[in-house]
């Protein structure tokens, strides 16, 4: 959904089917997408839809990325642990290991849009609207960022949810924790 309007739907599909279909549906063209782990794919898809219209090619875009979730990179952690659990069948891969950090998904988005800007990844038991709101406000008030893309990107074994929203100094909707919570609960 973008601004409350449904853009794309695929029922009874695995995440990997859903991700591939969404990528095609929005005509994305970014081959690196297929190398990403599920958390990064989820964050990438959601951010692509918002940033497509906000990032000006060839210009400085001071858009901070402030993301959080509950499970960190645990989905890929479990996968990586599986690759070293059996000494007879030991195959640790750097391409998997690098995704055992939750902030990699922010790195992927930064690379995609050349965002050399403030970034941070947090972990909370539940979506923490108050923290996200305050942190984003502070980045704007101190001019450390011109805009802040906030996101909750949770992925663990086929259970997933991504909520992203852009905070700017001017906009249609006031940025406060009540409204942010409403977005999350939609």
């Amino acid at each position: 959904m973008v601004n409350g309007v449904k853009q794309f739907e695929l029922e009874q599909a695995s995440f990997s089917e859903f991700a591939k279909a969404a990528y095609k549906n929005f005509n994305m063209d970014y081959p690196k997408f297929f190398k990403m782990d599920n958390l990064s794919k989820l964050a990438f898809l959601a951010s692509e839809i918002i940033l497509g219209s906000k990032v000006k090619e060839g210009e400085e875009n001071n858009i901070a990325l402030v993301f959080a979730n509950q499970s960190s990179s645990l989905d890929t952690d479990v996968k990586y642990q599986g690759s070293i659990a059996d000494k007879e069948n030991y195959f640790p891969s750097p391409a998997v290991f690098v995704y055992t950090l939750p902030n990699i998904c922010i790195g992927e988005i930064s690379i995609r849009h050349k965002l050399q800007s403030e970034n941070a990844f947090f972990v909370f038991e539940d979506f923490n609207a108050e923290f996200m709101t305050n942190y984003a406000d502070l980045l704007l008030a101190t001019n450390k960022a011109e805009k802040v893309l906030c996101g909750w990107v949770e992925y663990y074994q086929e259970n997933y949810k991504a909520i992203l929203y852009m905070v700017e100094k001017q906009g249609d909707l006031e940025h406060n924790k009540e409204i942010v919570n409403t977005l999350y609960n939609k």
Binding site: L74, V98, S110, I111, F121, V123, N134, L138
Partner: protein
């Protein structure tokens, strides 16, 4: 969405670090660590056989010593080694200051209790970072929701910036920041798969450096905006920046762009000239690319003549703990006006000139910088001013 300007006054609020602690192979308090560093002692040792590794070097805290130290403060025993280290690191700070509903608890880690995944009988939930944070915060009776910073190798420095920023919003008056990571087969095999592990104890900035040595540690600091708690020897957090390279997920930018911008951002916020800088506690992991990138960034900024060291050859790379641990030691350097030699360094191994500290020496330190860089293209710089 539109942000209201209710935070316009934030810039005037001063935030200080007034108390620190650390738990490492070199000691379970700052004083013992400092004495060991002055003598050039390292926590790095050789270990035999772990997983598929025949042998490796790492800086590991003795489990028996942790158990003994922990038994003297609590009779509970349902804690992992990492949890005990975190509690031991925080304990001396907690006694001195009151925890209120305006006290933040900030926890920095990359992998937390990841070792629990090795035993299939453990519930995967046990490896949740927020669960670990709650366990530590409940032990001490914090009432606010823990803020977990998990941003690869910059987490420990970023946690200081996050705590300071959140105090500046006015939501909190003060904050306890604790950081920790343990050595596990998970991270050892991972760095090894990247061929990023050094065969000998790591040698930051040296021409023969060839990778990291991993380590484990816990560190803690107390941040406050209450001027009445500030004494000489405290440090003021005067600027910070945490800016991405937007270049590669597993390698730093060749131009050091993210680090360059992070440091620029910290100086701009502080309104301090770079000429004032007395000391840089750098990241210095001893990988070819990281150390080279830092040298490039420092040169671009014109701070390449400032005394710089890496503490990685003393403690190994302690991941989410490193930035906080190294800040604790940098604060000690400032308090004592004493530079510590950058262990493991013999001959310049980066292409741009930087001023590596080659022997312990006295020097007045008023302004100092802590930097870190990590996977995902992240970088963080925090600038400090000593209170005299």
């Amino acid at each position: 969405m539109e942000a209201k300007s209710r935070l316009a006054e934030v810039v005037v609020k001063n935030v200080y670090i007034t108390k620190t602690n650390c738990v490492t192979p070199l000691g379970f308090d700052v004083a013992s660590n400092w004495q060991a560093l002055l003598k050039g002692q390292s926590g790095i040792q050789r270990f035999e056989k772990l997983g598929m590794l025949e042998s490796f070097y790492a800086s590991v805290v003795d489990s028996d010593k942790i158990d003994t130290a922990f038994a003297s403060i609590s009779d509970k025993n349902h804690f992992t080694k990492l949890e005990k280290m975190l509690i031991l690191a925080l304990m001396p700070l907690i006694g001195q200051y009151n925890i209120t509903n305006k006290t933040a608890f900030v926890f920095s880690t990359t992998k937390g209790n990841i070792g629990l995944l090795e035993d299939e009988n453990n519930a995967v939930e046990g490896a949740h970072l927020a669960v670990l944070a709650k366990k530590i915060s409940s032990f001490f009776g914090f009432s606010t929701e823990p803020i977990v910073v998990s941003n690869a190798c910059v987490s420990g420095v970023l946690a200081i910036a996050v705590a300071k920023r959140m105090i500046q919003t006015g939501v909190y008056d003060n904050a306890f920041v604790v950081a920790g990571d343990a050595v596990s087969e998970f991270v050892l095999s991972g760095f090894n798969s990247f061929q990023a592990m050094s065969e000998a104890p790591c040698k930051p900035y040296d021409e023969e450096r060839n990778g990291v040595t991993l380590g484990e540690a816990a560190a803690a600091v107390y941040l406050t905006s209450r001027e009445t708690e500030v004494r000489p020897g405290a440090v003021k957090v005067i600027g910070d920046g945490a800016i991405n390279d937007a270049n590669h997920i597993s390698g730093p930018s060749r131009t050091g762009e993210g680090l360059f911008r992070s440091i620029e951002s910290a100086f701009a916020e502080a309104g301090v000239a770079k000429e004032k800088l007395d000391y840089i506690s750098a990241h210095g992991t001893a990988t070819l690319y990281n150390d080279e990138m830092e040298a490039v960034a420092f040169n671009r900024l014109g701070i390449n003549t400032v005394s710089v060291n890496s503490l990685k050859a003393f403690y190994g790379h302690t991941l989410g703990a490193s930035g906080l641990l190294e800040t604790v030691i940098a604060i000690e350097s400032a308090r004592n006006n004493q530079l510590i030699a950058s262990k493991g360094f013999a001959k310049m191994g980066v292409s741009q000139p930087i001023s590596i500290i080659t022997k312990n020496e006295e020097k007045e330190i008023n302004f100092f910088l802590k930097t870190a860089s990590g996977f995902g293209g992240c970088n963080t710089a925090v600038l400090f001013e000593k209170v005299v």
